[in-house]
Symmetry: C2
Subunit: 761 residues, 2 copies
């Protein structure tokens, strides 16, 4: 049994020894380097570009502008192809643009012998603009006379739904109503490894792109679409990758490097974004502006949630309306017995482009909803934890959107487990004494629901292939991508669990090459252990069957009496008796003259379920009123992610998510000047991502429900930990100070404003 064990990461040694090779560690002879010439204004039309000085820099090899790129509007979001063409992503992007839509937009590209030369030349390019009004706030963006950011207008998408009954009836039957306006910030992924990609041709009609991407198989298709180049002739390779968090679920560089190599006779061309470019010119999290109403009856039953929200996607659609759409859908399972109404809109703005980011719109929606629920509980005079316990879903509740029963639903147990671990009741009582003075104490709770993958929004194929090596060890190939989250190790454990083979004998190939790797849409939507896990499950069972079948051929012992135990095949009834070792069987299958052949099993699987996962955060803070500074004394995330594959890796995921949420809650924000659209802080000096010193010790716990649709009872865990810490912190601040903060981040700067307004300072 391997699932449930703290198996060491497959890539641990490669990474800690520095031997793992990332995209930038793979040089090519004759490599050229390209950098973008970026817009210095947030909105306008380029009138002229002067390359005279730039071309004078020694080592500059070529220059391309919006006049040189194909006139093909394409989408960059890392989504599967939309078989239903109404679902397709907005095709609003050209490789380079004359109409610049944010500070940093891509006007031209300079190719040189080194990145340093290209950057030097780029700085010497002189661009004249016809300036247009930058649109930053929803009011301005939606103004009737606002300039159009795109020809199609400023609205990317909109949708609404009302489920669980009539909102009007629910409003009528409510004894308490709370409402508020909320706003979340534009934050950035800050993956360790910046965006980097290179491309070359080995032929006239084959492009290879090597990229730090979460989605090699999807990137292949997007490159093909953006260049109208035959898809079968594009190859995408994903080496080791240093994080993505959704930013690399987008083709930020791949189509451009592919285009450049076609222009340069197949020469290798690399693009490497700086940290500054990553911060403001790759992708960000969509800021949401929302108004939420929530109602409860006198019994403390949550009668309705009414969410009205606008999502700002920035200059280009990228994942666009899918973000708020998924975020609102995935969070519906928290309180499934209430009427839920959502009215959502996504709009362009003259800000950096927003795309996918860990938990994909859900943190924004949950922040708003859990704020309103908190106020509502207070209005109803009920302990906020009690209020949630009464209203959260339970197994068998109907999924409001899918109308099907939720087979596992551990949210209530999570809250109960957290209550105990956190000692909620004691703190609730004791901290009443600390609501005055300079340093106050407060506790907060918030919960969330999420999903495992995107079905039925998208089709998710996962592929897994198991191969028996000549020495009896096993290689597993997947198209799913290890991006730091530990999925390869989880897959190895799964394969071991289903086959009986010792996990130490199983190696999951950690890099993907679309010429070889089974098709899989990649790492996003917390889908891999759930969706790819099912393919691994099926492939491992098929593989085990083939091995036992072959063992019968080899030994004469009937297959049904055999099982694999580590590195041996044994009798099911006498596991101490070795019928044949894996090594003997392997060498026989390869080299016996009459029997055998290489033993392998491959499964390409489409998931048609999407299990919901749940969880909550409890947080205990001190708040220094004068310094407007929050100190976290204790913070616990409790997760129902079904069965936990690897507790140590799971804990790592949870800690990582919590830290990102703490950052988003207390310090992180890409600051945009509302007048000029200028980005103030696209550097890690000024963009306040928390350091190790800013992050408290964190705790986590799991409620291991058994999800029946998953290969191993498991559900999503990659993204969920980022959802509930921020609203829990906000609710703790409310508890400590009585001040209901309504926007993120709750940095000292913004708390100063709030506390001043509330008369605390």
């Amino acid at each position: 049994m391997s699932v449930g064990k703290n198996v060491q990461r497959q890539d641990a040694v490669a990474k800690v020894t520095g031997r793992a090779r990332y995209t930038e560690d793979l040089p090519m002879s004759g490599m050229k380097h390209a950098v973008y010439v970026r817009s210095t204004i947030a909105h306008g039309i380029v009138k002229s570009i002067n390359f005279d000085k730039a071309k004078g820099v020694k080592g500059v090899r070529a220059v391309f502008t919006y006049e040189d790129v194909p006139d093909i509007f394409h989408a960059t979001a890392g989504h599967p192809y939309a078989y239903n063409r109404e679902q397709k992503d907005v095709e609003d992007r050209l490789l380079l643009t004359k109409h610049v839509r944010f500070e940093g937009d891509e006007i031209a590209v300079i190719v040189a012998d080194s990145e340093m030369i290209a950057r030097k030349a780029a700085r010497l390019v002189e661009v004249e603009y016809e300036e247009l009004e930058p649109l930053i706030t929803p009011e301005n963006i939606l103004r009737e006379d606002a300039p159009k950011i795109h020809d199609t207008g400023n609205i990317v998408g909109a949708h609404s739904f009302e489920v669980g009954g009539s909102l009007d009836d629910a409003t009528d039957s409510s004894d308490y109503i709370a409402e508020g306006d909320y706003k979340t910030a534009m934050v950035q992924h800050c993956h360790l490894e910046n965006h980097v990609a290179y491309a070359y041709m080995e032929d006239n009609d084959t492009i290879t792109v090597v990229s730090s991407t979460q989605i090699p198989h999807i990137a292949r298709r997007i490159i093909s679409e953006a260049l109208e180049f035959p898809l079968g002739r594009v190859k995408v390779v994903k080496p080791y990758i240093g994080g993505g968090f959704g930013s690399k679920q987008d083709t930020v560089l791949e189509p451009m490097v592919a285009f450049l190599t076609t222009k340069l006779g197949g020469k290798p061309v690399q693009m490497n974004l700086t940290r500054e470019e990553c911060l403001s010119c790759s992708r960000t999290r969509h800021p949401f502006y929302g108004h939420v109403r929530a109602g409860a009856d006198k019994d403390g039953r949550l009668t309705f949630l009414d969410v009205d929200a606008v999502s700002l996607t920035g200059a280009y659609a990228s994942h666009g309306h899918a973000i708020i759409s998924a975020g609102s859908a995935k969070s519906c399972a928290m309180y499934p017995r209430s009427v839920i109404k959502v009215n959502a809109k996504t709009v362009y703005s003259n800000m950096p482009v927003a795309g996918a980011m860990r938990a994909y719109g859900t943190p924004q929606i949950v922040f708003m909803v859990e704020n309103a629920v908190e106020e509502l509980a207070a209005n109803a005079g009920i302990d906020p934890l009690e209020f949630r316990l009464k209203n959260v879903g339970v197994p068998g509740d109907i999924n409001p959107l899918k109308k099907s029963p939720m087979l596992s639903h551990g949210l209530k147990e999570c809250l109960e487990k957290g209550r105990e671990l956190f000692d909620w009741d004691r703190k609730r009582k004791e901290y009443k004494a600390y609501k005055k003075g300079s340093v106050r104490k407060g506790i907060g709770v918030a919960c969330f629901s999420y999903a495992s993958g995107t079905y039925p929004g998208n089709v998710e194929i996962a592929g897994a292939r198991a191969v028996l090596n000549q020495d009896g060890s096993v290689h597993i190939q997947v198209g799913a991508t290890e991006i730091g989250q530990g999925s390869d190790t989880a897959f190895a454990q799964m394969a071991a669990e289903s086959s009986g083979i010792d996990v130490g004998m199983i190696k999951v190939i950690s890099t993907q090459d679309t010429d070889f790797s089974p098709f899989d849409t990649g790492a996003y939507a917390s889908r891999q252990t759930y969706v790819t896990g099912q393919a691994v499950h099926k492939a491992a069972l098929e593989f085990r069957g083939k091995i036992l079948n072959y063992a019968e051929d080899l030994t004469g012992v009937i297959e049904s009496r055999l099982m694999i135990d580590g590195d041996r095949i044994v009798y099911t009834t006498r596991p101490d008796v070795t019928v044949v070792t894996m090594k003997e069987l392997a060498i026989h299958s390869y080299y016996h003259k009459d029997l055998g052949g290489q033993i392998s099993a491959e499964v390409s699987y489409k998931t048609r379920t999407n299990a919901l996962s749940f969880g909550c955060t409890f947080v205990d803070i001190d708040i220094d009123i004068e310094l407007c500074k929050v100190k976290i004394n204790d913070i616990i995330n409790i997760h129902d992610s079904g069965r936990i594959i690897n507790p140590l890796l799971a804990e790592g995921q949870v800690h990582g998510g919590m830290a990102m949420s703490i950052g988003a809650a207390l310090s992180e924000e890409l600051l945009i000047d509302e007048k000029s659209g200028r980005v103030y802080n696209n550097s890690l000096l000024d963009y306040k991502i928390p350091t190790m010193m800013d992050i408290p010790d964190m705790r986590c716990g799991f409620v291991e429900t058994e999800e029946p649709t998953a290969g191993y009872g498991n559900k999503s865990l990659g993204e969920p930990p980022i959802i509930s810490p921020a609203p829990a912190l906000r609710n703790a601040i409310l508890d400590a100070t009585g001040v209901a903060v309504s926007s993120l981040p709750m940095s000292p700067k913004s708390l100063y404003v709030e506390f001043t307004k509330a008369g605390l300072i």
Copy 2:
């Protein structure tokens, strides 16, 4: 229908544009370079090595000697693992040696920042030897008091067989007997791309080796054996490769670079042999010394062939006795109705190491046999062509060794076709007038038999995987290696033929990576179109079946009514009606929400047949007696290689083989000093490989028998063209001059000796 067409090579553009990347074109950051310190004597024991000066060269990083390498005797030959351990290759090699056995033997290795530095340092190493007698000739090698080249003695292997009756009886019933002593030369492959390999570790327990190899999957096992490193943790990558001809069916560098990276903390280390090292320190063709007797009765029936031969494998066994063993077995099918006795021995010598080379011992045996047969026909007063026509095999003849009927046997037809194309009878008559004077005319013929693969000597697994891309195009993955021979193109044609898919939509992945590529033993023994072709055949049929089955799911048209025609699926009865395009089907299979998944088919197949191929050479020469120079007026190879997959590529193979045989016949020889064992001419200035100017226009023809055991009626063609030109040339010289030359090469230098002896000069 694609088989039989002149489809353009899949790698044509990549290669002619220079975009194809070979091993040396793949740099790695931090790459170190290693070179061998080689023995300057042919036989002896190293007494001391002084690295003082070498280590003083700036940039030298490490030095390893025979004292540092593992004490693991291993075999380097690129053979499949011998499941029957008696068949295993001789394990006589250590990574570095104290007992040096040829001039160039590997004593130490120097690692430096660049190859130039390493070579400079290697030249400064001072080695003291205790010299031993170098053994070069069979007489010396087999002398009782000869020093032992290896502890096991100087004999590597020996075998004999007598088939088709009793040799004594056949001798008694013979009216004519011819006999002679023959010798073939040590020649070298001279592949365009020298031996090159590098290795690195991405982990503590994973070695990756990138190498110009014909046998990545076998190399993986040998590296594992040589280092006692887990096989599953070795990965071998084969990029584009510039020829091999058998020299790269051996692990010349792979175990050493793998060893070095383990010693250097996983750093990448490259070894790159110079042309000089390739010529005398990689592998050569085994020179054979033989005595052949042949008998005929008065009706011109060949009664027996009695071959006694010694093969010199040089300092190490490498492929060793397998060469003469295979060579004698494969040539038995020419004259299958005669008694055939073979007595063969392989011995060590203090000469460069011999290994596999195109046609693997058969050119040597056939040279001897076809010389003796020529003399025999002359003795019997029969036209040598008539004599052969009477005695060569016909379909249904029993394979003398395997005792099974030969299902296709086109040798007689080849001779007849050649007779006509060459105009044998007219020339035979007319050239009688040109047997005197300074310039004489002669014609010669010789034939051969060969095999397709090595079964039952070895087990040959071939793997093929077909994958439907999102755009309806197809990728084929094979473990078989394109090494310049055109196999990828043949596989694409085969897959097109069996599936109905347009060949332009099929791409065969040209590089192998043992982590991904299906297992296949690689390029050798002319096995790929025959053995791997069967795997491709089966995989393509299975793939076609899956596509049509899916087409039924998609369209409702029953599968049995459908077929694939190019890029469309059509009714079998109405090929003009498109039921669904491949592209539509592909996108549906990937992205339909309920049906589908990635469509692929994989086959791992073991061949249990080994079809015989045949052919002959006709050659017309002028010979200048005073200059001792042969001018080829016309040379034709006729081949029965079954059905021809791609006539243009087949012609290329034949021309290449003929040119190599002409070189071996007329000019090529690695010259070894018989006393010192010194190699005289290990450079392309002195080693006389023919240039374009030396090679005449060549013709070829095919007799397309239908081989029933092959996927496409095809048989081996890669190696066969090299077999019969040399003996045909020798027979033409005999015809022109009456001088029976008995050894190769028939260079002006050696003809001068022969002609003087014969009184012509």
